[in-house]
Symmetry: D2
Subunit: 386 residues, 4 copies
């Protein structure tokens, strides 16, 4: 094992998610930031690199330059992988180029701007054998993994109902016109893609549902709304779902649920019991049973009752809350452990391999496409196509 | 004011909701149980009457007998109103007869077996000028009334989103075949009506949404499911909603959410803020604001910040939890206060008049009809017809 | 079984606890209010009786008159028991007289003004064989009874630690000088007794600790404080405790915890697990285990996992919250069932006998005495004397 | 600004708190681990260094060697500061030596083995002008800082009551005899100090109370208990407190509260309102008001209503939970920012200077001494001496 070297595209001063990626990549001491093309504005790119103590020689002003230059460095210096944290429309090109130059890729969700791009990336990953890791953060939480493990082990019986909701309130006003840069690109169809609300948060919810249950969505009945006057993209939606085992579901995603923070919540009911997980209290998994008391399962390295997939993703004993950055770091850590194994020719443990990849990226883009198609349709149900 | 005399139809030994009606009617000392036809099985009717210390002379074995006999009693002895707590299919006939004999009526929801019956009752109420009180319990909670008052006062701005959910788990197994009498009639279409889940709990959720917001549902997109194998009626459903001010909503009702109790919850979001109320913690109303801290409003006679509609329905100062029976009792109390005013020729206060009536009963039955129609339709949206 | 007849002393217009006693006594239809001496001010006594629909002939203007008159009525008319809901200083005399005239007694806590009075009452109860029921409301909650049952059954192992706290904020200002009648008598040593905070709420906390654990306090180390300037009695206190099995505890009681409602909470830890119960969410009992997930036990007639002592005190299935008035009503119901059995010469079930009596009243008064003595002492520990 | 270089003493394989220190120091990219003497067992020290990708040349087998060797390195290579994460008895010597060799120090709490050692360190810090940062983690949480700021701004009025509790359950059995290394040294008086429970967690609670209120404890009335049979140190305690403004308090600390995790909680009440903060839900600060609804304040970079001391210590917008490691990282970040300012001759912002230092370390050791003295005394109150 050695410390892996990371290059970053995007994520300069005032970016939101880029900073989170760095906190997450730093935390476990398995990765170091070695270079960056941190902004499309050269001056900001360089100042941002300085902020991060990057050497001038590896502070790039555009990603093409970075990829070419890094590829030319000796193998014990050049980066191992590239993290792409630009807005959605600027994911595909650098990801494709990175793969072509032999770099592994970490990429912020939604994976691309369109489903077509997603499929091209998938094909390239297949061709190259490189790893593409997609940062669906919420699947990095230990208690999400515990839920998955319990369902996989049949603890809840056959899954019948899946309710997933993602209420946010940050777009309750026309903030894209009030200088909010995050709002501006997310509500601009040329940067965000076919759907704002489904791209930004709906894909997280859909991924969580499929990830935990290991089921696939087969049909959707969707309604997308633009609630705030003057906005040019959707900011709210609801989707009825069918899954491939016959289970039914409801997915709610809204950015105009005034006063809500980031209240992603999932409830899954099987024949024998149900689980409930809320991102705001991520170290708790509530498990409900047919005729027995509800249980509160808690994250912690010390809990023998947890699955190894949960404890592997904890850093502290119970009662020392880990949060969003740790969940994010779990994705980086599992990616890094897997990559290190690959570099050393070792087979990674199943717990290490447990991070989202290009497959989940394709399904996420398909989810957006299908929901938008259903929303435009007068028919109740639209078959989910990839 | 005087103590009102109540007769009860249904609610004998082993009945569930009849006992609740009695607890609720007893609590405030405004009503006394004077007679009953407590079961369709004469022997049980009489034993049940004995349990309740009713005089033999007013222990009836069928409702026709009771109505005729009571109508013949002197006015200072005979009952003032009749409470009907039989299964759905047996609401209409006694209610109609009671009204025809000049008795006011309290009736358990859903009001009738069919929309047609509901409309006939509505017409009879109009003709007679008598009061029909419908026990949509959850609208009796003080913090539900506080939510209504805040929205009415424009505190949240224009309402945009309404999410109401009603998860129960008590029908997760085929309990109707395992000797559960409550389950048996509710899942029998000859006793329950067109929809089990929507009749039993969906109407509560729909009523709550319309009651709090003072909006009307205009369109539904519904899916009803029969989840448990062997069951002959639906036990689960989800409905997308449109309201008459343009607001959008989602209604979820399930009796197969394994491990859930009676977790009715409503969230409503307006331009300026949102409210959240959960029946399991009924004395709390959570109010979320755009850029200010969330507030926890609490029920209590002593809270100056509450609406008079909320405090009128509290009996204790904050921190002395009131619950389901008190909410139920609020409906009885408001009905009794209104009726007493009517008997004395006084105009009741608005707070007294605040209980569900035949109008809400008709809308509830229409809700069931529209949801069932939508569920059978391939079209996404069905216009709400009454 | 028959409906029992109750007379009430105190509890007229504007009284707080008297109204609660009536709601509680009404609820189950086992008791009817037959007469009252509802205020020491004759005019208010009569108006209050009118409010409650009492016949003029049994609307008394003082308790002596009431006791004498009722004792002279025929046995099938006269009251069975007398409820005393006056301020503390006016408990003893009517209770004593009631017992002397052969009436059973229900009495609000603290039982008397002084420990001496309490012992005299205890002696009189012994002599007469009558029942004295003390309304320590919080021990009426089903989940409190569940906690007691679990500890009694050894589920938690030997009890080691007991933390009980009772924070209120309603005396955070000098409200006794601002027209608050409840505050006025409670902070007046001539009406309240030796300690305001310990008499009003500390005794509830101490009773709860001894009730649930079946242990007895043996030593106290107390500090009483008068926090609000201008107040002439204590309004806050903390007590370190030793129990007769060697367990240690802490009791906190405050009326100046600004912003708190009535947040009585108890936590008890044994060798194998711990329990937590909070009066604000009374239908939930949290049970913590050594190396297993925490459990949420819930009140409900339908839960097979509960003790019969818990389910006997539930009226509704899980998820239909019962509250403070129901807890109060449980005490009345158990008292009424016991008394009815006694009247019929039947042995009451253990679940019926489960209500506080004169013994708990004596211990409560002793608790006040010992805490006040300890608070005045420089010694750390004071032995608990009765 | 530049990346600071850290050396670590202790914290090798299987250590608990050392790993946490590294995660915290890594997170923000302001610090790199440059060398270590990670265990007193040379073999483990070297293997641990390898795990962390340290170069062999800076993988030391004892701290004296490390300090001497590092001091001899050129200034642009040698470490800037040393973090000491050994058990309590092994804090003083390396800290003293580090300061003597001109290194700044970060040290795990309690600062030393004895109060005497603490005072010597304090003197040395004064002499050298170096920084000693003490990792009282819980004061690193943003909502703790918000509480402090609100009290400092007079929002709650004069502070009257302080209740702080720290229940843990991990020593509920005799785990020191069952191979638990963490338990073994903490319950060994030769390694832990005068009190186990007060050294390990009581000092955190006391620090939190003094930190948030800016008050000082003046008197204690303590009881320390050894609950688990066979244990040779205390594992539980309760302390009544007086503060220098006249406020009264209660501190509870227990390691035998079976089933509890790390449930540090503080409640502070002033004339106008109260605050409540619970470490298990650290991003929430509950603020209770006299006659207004309770407020839920939430951590988040985006909340304009928070103090700059709170937002400075957030990394994410509301609803992206930060936890224990982030709180820890805040101490490292503030220390690193302060040290960087010092190195560049800039005056640090007040928000940067907000981390615990040697002064808090001395008070923590004095707290242990005073509590132990009080526990042994028959007198109720012991004056707090430093």
């Amino acid at each position: 094992m050695r410390k892996l070297r990371m290059g970053m595209i995007g994520g300069g001063r005032n970016a939101f998610i880029g900073a989170i990626h760095r906190l997450a990549a730093n935390m476990d001491g398995l990765i170091e930031l070695s270079c960056g093309a941190l902004s499309s504005i050269p001056e900001i790119a360089l100042l941002s690199a300085q902020d991060l103590f990057l050497p001038e020689s590896r502070s790039y002003t555009n990603y093409e330059e970075m990829i070419v230059a890094e590829a030319a460095l000796p193998s014990d210096v050049r980066i191992d992988f590239i993290t792409i944290v630009t807005p959605n429309f600027a994911h595909f090109a650098p990801a494709m180029m990175a793969l072509e130059y032999g770099f592994h890729v970490v990429i912020e969700k939604p994976m691309t701007f369109s489903l077509e791009e997603a499929k091209l990336l998938q094909q390239k990953v297949l061709e190259t054998g490189l790893i593409l890791c997609l940062t669906h953060t919420y699947s990095g939480y230990p208690m999400v993994k515990q839920a998955k493990a319990m369902i996989n082990d049949g603890k809840l019986g056959k899954v019948r109902k899946i309710w997933v909701e993602y209420p946010q309130g940050w777009l309750s006003t026309l903030s894209e016109k009030e200088g909010n840069a995050q709002a501006a690109w997310r509500t601009d169809p040329s940067k965000s893609g076919k759907s704002s609300v489904m791209g930004d948060i709906g894909t997280h919810a859909a991924h969580l549902a499929e990830y935990i249950t290991a089921l696939k969505i087969t049909d959707v009945c969707a309604e997308l709304n633009t609630i705030v006057e003057g906005r040019i993209m959707d900011d709210d939606g609801a989707v009825l779902l069918k899954f491939d085992n016959g289970a039914k579901g409801v997915l709610i995603a809204s950015q105009v649920a005034t006063g809500e923070e980031n209240a992603l919540k999932i409830r899954i009911y099987g024949e024998k019991g149900g689980i409930e997980w809320l991102q705001h209290e991520p170290n708790t998994l509530i498990v409900k049973w047919l005729n027995e008391p509800t249980q509160i399962l808690r994250a912690g390295t010390n809990y023998g009752y947890l699955s190894s997939f949960a404890t592997h993703n904890c850093r502290t004993p119970g009662g020392h809350p880990e949060g969003y950055i740790e969940a994010f770091a779990n994705i980086y850590r599992n990616f890094a452990l897997t990559l290190n194994c690959k570099l050393e020719g070792i087979k990674p443990a199943l717990e290490m391999l447990d991070f989202p990849t290009v497959e989940e990226g394709v399904r996420g883009m398909a989810f957006i496409d299908n929901v938008v198609a259903s929303s435009k349709s007068d028919k109740k149900w639209t078959s989910f196509k990839v």
